[in-house]
């Protein structure tokens, strides 16, 4: 019987293709808007490194005055809490001396000017970090190697690891290992090539104007010699007398992560941080923190900054828009089914039960849903491409993955089903005698 309903529904849709297209379009546009906006949230909420992890982000809560100053809202991007997330270079180098964590890494990303070995200047993203960053964030090193841990804070280090995709841009298909590049007057030799999976890193730390790609990875200590300018600096004004060198090291711009697999390590780390905060406070620096926080990595992704709030709101709006589109479909279906009342009455006379009429019309609504889903997903993928182009400063590439395509399809069918319920119920509950013309 389902085959018959399908056949009749197809026939009905073919009878007025323009109207059928209109119905599908109404649903498709509503779904397209929703699923594309939803994908931006889902893309950001997806954990690029799922699974339990013992990685913690070290945060020092400050009395920066920013939350009070920026009001409750703290700006659309939740900027007011940034000072708590970023440590100074000095703090990271002091804390990284601790033997408590199994591994640790400091890092910040910025935009640098690089002189390639053919003399060309290119701008590109750079991450100044510890060698253990690759292991902690599971970024595979495809060829060559990273640097020794002893170079992490060595101002005279002269090695770099390059991101695979970035290397393609800079060096074409030739092997980047052994190539020399210059940054800020310092020459470094590329020792390794890292796999391109930027989401792993960029979801877990803040990038400001860094292009949101991985580029060069350099030992953190190099900035002492190179004095490359971080894109984002939280200045604490701990530099009376304008000591420029001191200033760069005391402003906040570095993330610091520690790996603490055991409970004992975690408690020891908390004790260490407490005493560290106390020492800082005694020093009387403006940057002296109030209290430390050890934040689990997945908690960071969820809570540490509210980058998603704006996206979530637009998602909520587009969901309401989807409901409005469904209502549009309800009315279009009602009109369409109403036109068919005489035919339905003939069918009823010929023995179609109310259930049969109801099911046939639900099948028709579902067919509209299938068409709407196909057009809607096509439209959504165009929208997602447009979002990627329109929002260059984003933490992840927005994409419709298989799960979202499937759930988009499911949601569209569900919408079509709900939109069809009332019109189908109405048409099937008309007594056949009402529209049956005897004469």
């Amino acid at each position: 019987m389902l085959a018959y309903y399908l056949q009749q529904a197809l026939r009905s849709l073919r009878r007025n293709p323009a109207y059928s297209m209109l119905m599908m379009l109404c649903l498709a546009l509503g779904v397209g808007v929703w699923i594309s906006v939803h994908s931006t949230v889902a893309s950001q909420a997806r954990d690029p490194m799922p699974g339990p992890r013992n990685l913690f982000h070290v945060e020092l809560e400050h009395d920066s005055g920013l939350p009070e100053r920026m009001g409750n809202a703290a700006g659309i991007w939740g900027l007011a809490h940034l000072p708590d997330l970023l440590l100074s270079y000095r703090q990271v180098s002091e804390l990284s001396r601790s033997q408590i964590p199994s591994r640790s890494a400091g890092a910040f990303s910025t935009q640098v000017a690089v002189q390639l070995d053919d003399g060309r200047f290119v701008e590109g993203p750079a991450t100044f970090c510890f060698a253990d960053l690759f292991a902690l964030f599971e970024i595979p090193v495809l060829s060559g190697s990273t640097w020794a841990r002893s170079l992490d804070l060595d101002p005279n280090a002269n090695v770099a690891v390059v991101d695979h995709d970035q290397a393609r841009l800079w060096f074409g298909n030739t092997d980047p290992i052994g190539r020399k590049v210059r940054l800020g007057g310092v020459e470094v030799t590329i020792s390794g090539v890292a796999a391109s999976d930027p989401q792993r890193l960029r979801l877990y730390h803040l990038w400001f104007g860094g292009g949101y790609r991985n580029g060069l990875f350099l030992p953190l200590g190099l900035i002492e010699r190179m004095r490359a300018r971080p894109v984002f600096v939280f200045g604490w004004n701990d530099h009376d007398g304008a000591n420029a060198a001191l200033r760069t090291l005391d402003d906040g711009f570095v993330h610091f992560w520690v790996e603490l697999p055991t409970e004992a390590q975690r408690s020891a780390m908390i004790l260490l941080l407490d005493s560290y905060v106390e020492r800082e406070r005694v020093s009387g620096r403006a940057s002296a923190p109030l209290r430390p926080t050890l934040r689990r990595l997945d908690d960071w992704r969820r809570n540490a900054h509210q980058l998603y709030a704006g996206y979530r709101l637009v998602e909520m709006l587009s969901l309401i828009g989807l409901i409005a589109s469904c209502l549009s479909l309800v009315r279009l279906l009602m009109a369409k089914f109403q036109i068919r009342a005489p035919e339905v009455s003939v069918r009823r006379a010929l023995g179609a039960s109310r259930r049969a009429v109801f099911l046939q019309h639900i099948v028709e609504a579902l067919l509209v849903g299938v068409g709407g889903a196909l057009i809607g997903l096509l439209f959504a993928s165009l929208e997602v491409a447009m979002y990627n182009a329109a929002l260059p400063d984003r933490t992840v590439d927005f994409a419709l993955d298989l799960g979202q395509v499937a759930s988009g399809f499911g949601v569209t069918l569900l919408c079509a089903l709900f939109a069809g319920l009332y019109p189908a119920w109405r048409i099937c509950s008309i007594p056949p005698a009402v529209y049956l013309r005897w004469q």
Partner: protein, 232 residues
């Protein structure tokens, strides 16, 4: 085949109530060909709707083929319509964008017959009305008489015990009208009960007996089936 006793039907629209059938009683025996006559607004269409289980009624009893239809659910009523009744309308009521074959297919589909059986029955019904060659034509490609033969074939295809017809020749010229009446008589002779509503006395004359409806009542309910049959 049809035994109605004291059927009542009231249409209400706002505060106005109109009694379409008032205490209508009639009996149509198996294998009969009964003509029902009456002026416009006498309740003929309401009678057909109720007899065909297309509309509910507000009082009285109705036995269709010895089945008490009062209180039957929609599913049972639909099944009865599907299996026991064939409809022939003055306006044919063919589904315009289904071809002849598919129009005949409709009642068989709702009966849930499988493909081969449906095909056999459809071909047989088309043969009976002489339209085998037209099975893939759309109704709009057929003449009025051909359309009515398709409609009759559609009524026949389910092998019903009862055919309800309303002015089956009303939209046709006299030659075609005669053909249709002959077809109906043939069907009746094969054992199908026919109840036909008409204005035309010459059509009614072909029935076994005539009943008159006026103001929602059969005015000659005593007319015995047997006697009417003898009248021919």
């Amino acid at each position: 085949m049809i035994r109605m006793t004291g059927i009542k039907k009231v249409y209400t629209s706002g505060v106005l109530a109109m009694e379409a059938l008032a205490d209508l009683s009639l009996h149509v025996g198996k294998g009969e060909f009964v003509a029902i006559m009456g002026p416009s607004g006498s309740g003929k269409t309401t009678f057909l709707n109720i007899a065909g289980l297309l509309d509910s009624f507000d009082g009285g009893d109705y036995l269709l083929d010895d089945i008490d239809v009062r209180g039957l659910g929609d599913d049972e009523q639909s099944r009865l319509r599907n299996q026991k009744i064939g409809f022939v309308f003055q306006s044919f009521n063919l589904i315009p964008d289904l071809d002849v074959f598919d129009n005949l297919d409709v009642p068989l589909r709702y009966r849930g017959l499988h493909g081969a059986e449906r095909r056999r029955r459809i071909e047989h019904a088309l043969e009976q009305v002489g339209l085998t060659a037209r099975s893939r034509h759309l109704p709009s490609q057929l003449s009025g008489g051909q359309q009515q033969r398709v409609a009759i074939a559609r009524a026949l295809v389910g092998e019903p015990k009862l055919i309800l017809a309303d002015e089956p020749t009303g939209n046709l010229d006299s030659v075609m009208a005669r053909q249709i009446m002959e077809l109906l008589q043939k069907i009746n002779q094969q054992g199908t009960t026919i109840v036909m509503v008409t204005h035309a006395a010459e059509l009614a004359a072909r029935a076994h007996r005539k009943l008159h409806i006026l103001d929602g009542k059969v005015i000659d309910p005593q007319a015995r089936p047997r006697r009417a049959a003898e009248a021919i």
